[in-house]
Symmetry: C2
Subunit: 317 residues, 2 copies
């Protein structure tokens, strides 16, 4: 079982490389919820999401031979961008297996960072199988998007920064897809804020995390159809679930309509761009899916990568 | 002639009340321009623009009798919101003369802060005349949007913070409407960064500031039709011009198309919402209207108040 020392090591390795992202507050959001909300803005992170933290740290842990051979991964987009940027910065060749329906802005950014992209159909093919074939045929090292101790350690550095910046919290709400950010946040909370509850938030359309926590084992579902493209994960990672089942208090769900309302709130009031997946945790606070009145609440905003055309549609509704 | 001590006094009065807004950087923007750009983000200021600084400070300088009687102003929107919030915080009744075509989000926010709104037609009526009538009939004190020493002093605190945060700059680019932010920035630069050039940026459609600086006297034009609704000012303020003609190096113009391109860049890359007027200074850097390659450049982003519906249209183009 991983402990907090892994997060501390990741923080040291990322110092001066990953952004120490700002924590924003909003009197209007506090008035709406009756809580005191602290928004940790990973949409301002390099590559546009928290994924840079884990990706950079995982590459930094490779042996010289592994770095020379290059790495492969699969991703709906943000891990792909993050790993590609990390590879560019560290001189490691990156191949990414991406679904054909990934947002155009994420595909373009990944290519822009110099990665090689291999497309697939996320409803027909297994991205893991395609990546494993590349590992076998080309000697690449697999850097999965969330089910990996170094990835989890890197993602935990965001919550660690949040606790350091704002002091005691009653609860931290965390966007949940495969569980990298949630497991990392749980590790950080266990060491730095043992009285702070850790709560995952996933889309209504795919509550595999909630089911898994209730049953005590990883539950697999069909690929969920949701606006939260970063949370279209059918099951949690194994390393992630080992931590989540021990240290996460509960997992709640929110609707796509709640994600749109939160996205619009961020545009209108905080003047920040948050992608739908990045709105999961905030939507739980705004809708009361997690009741937080009277509490000091950390809200992890996971990313801000959204196609302007898609944003236009969501704002015009 | 005002000097920097007025800005210092305003900074002291605003400490802990106005936000000390963040300064953002972007590797992509630097690569595009060949410069090192420092974006001072007044879109994160209270009420959504730099206008809060001057409005709050001006109200704080009133006598007890003036505060009891209340104040009146005219504004295309951001000064209205700012003054209304400042009045709410200081317990001063605020009346605002606003054009019928002001952005709905700005009218709603002004009303939300408890101000009384008097509408007018900006192409037919004089807002100054309407405000003066309210001064005469109701004993209100006029707090104009820019032509006032306390307003100028308050607006100068943003540039003062920028110089303190990032050190020496070769030039600071400032959005220009009536000249409050530009005059205040010029005062701050004169004291804190005497080697830093100060450059105003206004819409192509209304280059009265540029003409005024060239001729050495205030030039009046027809109300300009531009996407930059906060810069639809037909002439500079007198207090403002007295400072601008002494301490501003040049004034350049940018097109509405350049404002849209800058707005989209901020959404896509910096993940921040900037209103069209707030994009003026950045657009001058991005288009080369002010050539800044090789320089350290401060860019004042004046505000982020834009209707989501209008933003949707601009992003969908």
């Amino acid at each position: 079982m991983m402990d907090f020392s892994a997060v501390t090591q990741a923080s040291e390795r990322l110092a001066g490389i990953a952004h120490r992202t700002p924590v924003l507050t909003s009197r209007t959001a506090d008035a709406l919820t009756g809580a005191q909300l602290f928004f940790k803005c990973e949409n301002f992170q390099r590559s546009g999401s928290f994924k840079f933290r884990g990706a950079y740290y995982a590459l930094a842990q490779l042996s010289p031979a592994q770095r020379r051979a290059g790495v492969v991964s699969y991703s709906s987009g943000n891990h792909a961008q993050a790993l590609s940027l990390a590879g560019q910065l560290q001189g490691v060749a990156v191949t990414v297996v991406m679904p054909h329906d990934a947002p155009a802005i994420k595909v373009a950014a990944t290519r822009g960072y110099g990665a090689h992209i291999v497309g697939y159909d996320r409803f027909q093919e297994s991205r893991e199988a395609i990546a494993q074939r590349l590992v076998a045929e080309r000697g690449l090292t697999l850097i999965p998007p969330y089910d990996h101790p170094d990835i989890i350690a890197g993602q935990g550095t965001s919550a660690a920064e949040l606790f350091a910046a704002v002091g005691p919290l009653d609860v931290v709400l965390v966007c949940l897809g495969g569980g990298g950010l949630l497991a990392g946040s749980a590790l950080a909370a266990a060491a730095l804020a043992p009285n702070c509850r850790v709560v995952g938030v996933e889309p209504e359309a795919g509550n595999d995390g909630q089911q898994s926590l209730q049953r005590g084992e990883i539950v697999r579902i069909a690929v969920p159809q949701t606006l939260a493209d970063g949370a279209m994960t059918p099951y949690l990672g194994e390393h992630n679930f080992a931590i989540i089942r021990q240290r996460v208090d509960s997992i709640v769900t929110v609707s796509d309509a709640a994600l749109i309302a939160a996205l619009r709130f961020f545009i209108e009031r905080l003047k920040i761009v948050v992608e739908p997946t990045g709105c999961l945790a905030a939507a739980a606070a705004f809708t009361g899916a997690y009741p937080c009145a009277g509490q000091r609440v950390g809200v992890l905003i996971s990313g801000g990568n959204i196609d302007p055309a898609q944003l236009a549609v969501l704002l015009a509704d």
